[in-house]
Structures are given as structure tokens and as C-alpha cells.
């Protein structure tokens, strides 16, 4: 194990040490259950809902996306609830590289970032030079790059190749924010998730992200707990804080609050901001807006009153 990862680890990281500690799966699931059932009410709930909006990467990754649809998405990102100016803008809009240009035009001068997926999203099954070229092209417009980890190499045990590729993409995008998508649903176990997390962080990821949203299972809370603990151990070992992005299958405010609770109780309040915590979602935002309107007015809301993007 140590031999496999030794090539990629910065010298100051002690391996295997905490990196390859095996994961207590039952424990992770039990902890996730606790986080999911935490009761967050009133003031704390309002704060949490606001946080979730501020940390959302509003996402549309469809073949049918057009510049027009992207413009609609950006309008929603800037002012999620047109009737409630108190609702803050989201963190970023996440699109395919071809739509990063129209997105950045719509978002110019605003705090909302443009994130583009790259490196052969979602499968990553394209030649290495194509991945680098795609990432570099996307980085000319986008502020943040969401790359997919090479699961083919990872599952073959070629960890050095995985890490080298992440480092190469990091170099190719020239200082842009790099999120590495692990696609945990394809890794086949908590130990693998921890290993992939550590690998990505050691190779220079600014964020590690659960899933593409294109395969099932996507993000689950137990997997998030495993990743968050890896982030915590990595920060302890190296002093470098890495961000966490949950994506895929998060549709309700309640689920999203579960992730925020997990982040808070694993990593602490320093991670509860858009610089270190993101939620990638499309339909989630409307559910959060409905909850905010419910907290404001006291009446349960109708989905028809919120724009579908």
C-alpha cells in the first residue's frame, strides 16, 4: 500500500499512518444516522437554510442545455427567490465547459462563480491529453473546475497514475479552484472512498466531491462522513484545509441540513462557508426556497410558485 501511494504523497505527509486507516463502516452509518436525525428548528433552521443557499452550486448538466437555459439558470443563481430579496445568491453555477462562456457573461460582476465540469465528465473515459486540453480550455472562462477522478486507473490499482493526472490537471488550469469528483458510488466500499479522498487531497485537490450525479448511488451521508473524516485527518497531518462538496441525489432541505450538520460536527464551524463547503444540486434549491418561505410566512408552499429551471 505504502509503495503504491509513496510516489504521490508530498514528503511531509506521513503514509500510511492515518491515510490508509481502515474505515469502520457500521460506525460511519450510525454516525450518519445521528446527523440526519438531528432536530434543527427555528433560528438555527433559518440560518442553516440560508447557509445552504450560499453554499449551493446550482447545476445543470444536460445534453439539452443551451445558452438560453444557462442564462435562466444564472438569473436564478443571482436572485433565487424573486419575491424575497433577503435570500442570498448561490455560490456558483455548474455547467458543461461549452456553456461556461454564456454563464460567465451572465454572472460578470457578481459574486457567483462559474464552475465547469471537465476531464471527460461523467465517466472520465477519454484519452489523457483530451482531459488536459478540456480542463485548460474550461479554465480560460470558468473560476472553478470540477474534474472526475480516473476510476478506471483507480480500480486497476494504478494509484500513482490517478494522482499524477490530478496534479497535471491542477497545473493545466493555472490556479483555478480544483474540485475532484470521486464518484463514490463506483468505488466499491468505504475503504476505497477514504483512499481516493486521501489520494485526491495529496495530489492537490482544493475540494473533494462525492459524485457526478449521473450514476446511482450518488451522494450518501455515510460516504460523506468517511470523506469528511479523511479531510479532518488530512488537515491534521498537513495543515491544509480541503473543502467538501456533496452532489447528486440531494433533493430536500432536510437532507442538505444533514450534510451541514455532518460537516459541522466532523470538521467544525470553520468549514461552514462556501469557501470550504458546497452542495451541488438542481432541484434542491426550490425545496430550500419553499422552506425559507414557509419559515417566513408560516404557510406551507406550493411548488408551482417557484420557477423550474
Amino acid at each position: 500500500m505504502a509503495a503504491m501511494t509513496a510516489g504521490v504523497a508530498p514528503p511531509e505527509v506521513a503514509l500510511p499512518g492515518p491515510a490508509l486507516r481502515s474505515v469502520d463502516g457500521v460506525g460511519a452509518e450510525a454516525r450518519a444516522q445521528l446527523f440526519a436525525s438531528r432536530s434543527i428548528k427555528r433560528g438555527a433552521k433559518r440560518w442553516a437554510l440560508d447557509l445552504i443557499v450560499r453554499c449551493t452550486d446550482l447545476t445543470s448538466l444536460e445534453g439539452a442545455d443551451t445558452p438560453g437555459r444557462t442564462a435562466t439558470l444564472c438569473a436564478k443563481a443571482l436572485r433565487p427567490d424573486p419575491v424575497d430579496p433577503a435570500v442570498p445568491p448561490v455560490a456558483a453555477v455548474c455547467v458543461y465547459p461549452a456553456l461556461a462562456e454564456p454563464a460567465s457573461r451572465c454572472l460578470r460582476g457578481s459574486p457567483v462563480k462559474v464552475a465547469a465540469v471537465a476531464t471527460g465528465f461523467p465517466s472520465g473515459q477519454v484519452p489523457a491529453e483530451v482531459k488536459l486540453a478540456e480542463a485548460a480550455a474550461a479554465a480560460r472562462v470558468a473560476d472553478e473546475i470540477d474534474m472526475v477522478m480516473d476510476r478506471r486507473a483507480f480500480l486497476c490499482g494504478r494509484y500513482v497514475e490517478v494522482a499524477d493526472e490530478i496534479a497535471a490537471v491542477k497545473a493545466a488550469i493555472g490556479g483555478r479552484h480544483l474540485k475532484v469528483i470521486l464518484e463514490t458510488g463506483e468505488l466499491g466500499g468505504y475503504d476505497q472512498v477514504r483512499r481516493a479522498s486521501w489520494l485526491a487531497m495529496a495530489a492537490g485537490a482544493d475540494f473533494i466531491k462525492t459524485s457526478t450525479g449521473k450514476i446511482q448511488p450518488a451522494a450518501t451521508l455515510p460516504v460523506a462522513v468517511v470523506m469528511l473524516e479523511a479531510i479532518r485527518d488530512f488537515a491534521e497531518a498537513t495543515g491544509r484545509p480541503v473543502g467538501f462538496k456533496a452532489a447528486g441525489g440531494i433533493r430536500t432541505a432536510r437532507q442538505a441540513i444533514g450534510y451541514a450538520v455532518a460537516v459541522n460536527e466532523t470538521l467544525g464551524g470553520a468549514w461552514l462557508n462556501p469557501v470550504r463547503f458546497r452542495i451541488g444540486a438542481s432541484s434542491l434549491l426550490n425545496d430550500v426556497l419553499m422552506q425559507i418561505a414557509k419559515e417566513r410566512s408560516g404557510a406551507y408552499q406550493a411548488p408551482d410558485d417557484f420557477s423550474q429551471t
Binding site: 404557510a299 406551507y300 408552499q301 406550493a302 410558485d305
Partner: protein, 272 residues
């Protein structure tokens, strides 16, 4: 020797399942603890009903009629049990019979509603228009306090025959026959979520029904007079339709089914 008796614990019928109130609350009624639905139970019921509307309203009217007829079959098969739940005696027997009649009536009405409520309209131009009834969507029903079974199922069947999903508050004082009726619906092929049966306090739930923005109409048959004003005030925010309590209590008829339908008028050129 008498048979051992097993006391029945009534439950809410919500999203196609029999559940206790999310709040865990009950209100005592004799020896029975009746679940006291909370606003969150109502919210879940409306969510399930909203999800069920497209499937149910797009079934053919003929199929909806068949499903209602099946519910009547289920009731007939459990006649004795329902008579006992209503308190036994001749009056209870008559109520079950009237309920059966109402269910069969609305089963038959389903594919005739368009003829009764719709029309072809003569207009002064080279075209005509026709009008068809369409379900409003999610109907909240405050069922009459009495008769507990007939009142509930008549109004539920009326709304269902038009293609609506129904969230019903059963009689507060006599909730057991209404909650038991959930078993008829569950075994009678009514798709999951199309009907929810909630028991609880009207003072608590009627205002929630009024303010919930995803309810399209309220059948206020059993709304207590003192809550009616508030219900109407809250419902006005979303221009929610209020079906008033009928003057003669509850009588089955096609107007009751049309009361939870919108009339859609479509333009059509002549001779094309």
C-alpha cells in the same frame, strides 16, 4: 366461551400506508386512542396527493369508475364489520347501504361527468367552443361529523370520480368508521397517495388546510361554523376554491363531483 378480543389501534391512512401521527399524539375516545394528526402529517398527505394527481387524473374516467366500484365491493364484503364500527343496529345497516349506493353512483358517474358538466357552446362566429370539466387537483375535505361513514365516502368518491386526489379529515367525534375506510381504499386499488384519511382536531387542522398553498380546493362539508370565516380568509390568499356545505346535508349527485372540477373551454373551428 367467548372469543378473545384484540383491541384495534386506529391509524392514519397516509401515502398508501397506515401510520401513526408523526407527532405521536393521540386523543382519547372511550377506550380508544385516536391518532391526532399534526400539520406535518397534513403536509405529507398533501405532498403524496400532489404526486398522485397526474397519474390518477390521466387515467380514463372509465378506469376511475372501475376503481370506485371495486371500493364498493370491498365495503359490501365487510358489511358486518362496518355496521359494528358504526355502533350496530338498523340505522348503521342503513348507513352502510346508503354508502354502497353512493359509491356505486359515483363509480357510474365517472365517465358521464363530461356529458353532465360539459357543453358544446354556440358562438357568433365561424367556430364553436366546447367546455369540459377537469379536476382541480388536490382537494382537502373536512368530512361531515355525521354520518361518519356515509358523509366521508360520499364526498371522497365525488372528488375521486372527477379525477382529484383527496386529503380528508374524518369525523372528529366518530373517527373510527372513517379510519377503517382506509382499508377499503387500500384494498380497492385506489393508487397510493390519491386518498389520505387523517383524524385529529379541527381547530388545529382546518386553519392549516386554509393556509397550505398547495391545496387547490377545500370541500368544507363538515367545517365547524366557528372556523369557516378563518378558513375562507386563509384560503383567499391562494384563491383556493371553497365548496360550501350543501343545504340538505349530504346528498350524492353530480353537482358534488362538479364542485371540485374546473370547467375548461376550448375553441374549435367549424368544419375542419
Amino acid at each position: 366461551m367467548s372469543a378473545p378480543s384484540v383491541a384495534k389501534t386506529p391509524k392514519l391512512y397516509l401515502g398508501g400506508a397506515f401510520v401513526r401521527s408523526e407527532s405521536g399524539r393521540v386523543y382519547p375516545l372511550g377506550l380508544v386512542n385516536v391518532p391526532r394528526a399534526s400539520r406535518k402529517d397534513l403536509r405529507e398527505a398533501v405532498r403524496a396527493a400532489r404526486a398522485a394527481v397526474p397519474g390518477w387524473s390521466h387515467r380514463t374516467a372509465y378506469t376511475r369508475g372501475q376503481v370506485l366500484y371495486r371500493v364498493a365491493e370491498m365495503l359490501e364484503g365487510r358489511r358486518v364489520e362496518f355496521i359494528a364500527a358504526l355502533g350496530g343496529g338498523r340505522a348503521s345497516g342503513r348507513e352502510v347501504d346508503r354508502t354502497l349506493d353512493a359509491l356505486v353512483y359515483y363509480a357510474g358517474l365517472a365517465d358521464k361527468l363530461a356529458q353532465l358538466g360539459g357543453s358544446v357552446n354556440a358562438v357568433a362566429g365561424p367556430y364553436f367552443t366546447f367546455t369540459v370539466p377537469e379536476p382541480v387537483g388536490v382537494v382537502a375535505l373536512v368530512a361531515p361529523e355525521a354520518p361518519a361513514l356515509f358523509g366521508l365516502l360520499t364526498h371522497v368518491a365525488a372528488a375521486l370520480s372527477g379525477g382529484n386526489a383527496v386529503v380528508a379529515l374524518v369525523s372528529e367525534r366518530r373517527p373510527l368508521p372513517g379510519l377503517l375506510a382506509g382499508e377499503l381504499l387500500a384494498t380497492g386499488d385506489v393508487p397510493q397517495g390519491v386518498v389520505a384519511l387523517l383524524s385529529g382536531l379541527r381547530t388545529e387542522l382546518v386553519p392549516q388546510i386554509g393556509s397550505h398553498r398547495d391545496i387547490d380546493a377545500v370541500d368544507s362539508a363538515g367545517c365547524p361554523p366557528e372556523l369557516r370565516r378563518e378558513l375562507e380568509r386563509l384560503a383567499a390568499d391562494r384563491v383556493k376554491r371553497i365548496v360550501p356545505a350543501s343545504a340538505d346535508g349530504t346528498s350524492p349527485g353530480h353537482r358534488l363531483a362538479l364542485a371540485t372540477c374546473e370547467l375548461k373551454t376550448i375553441w374549435h373551428p367549424v368544419g375542419v
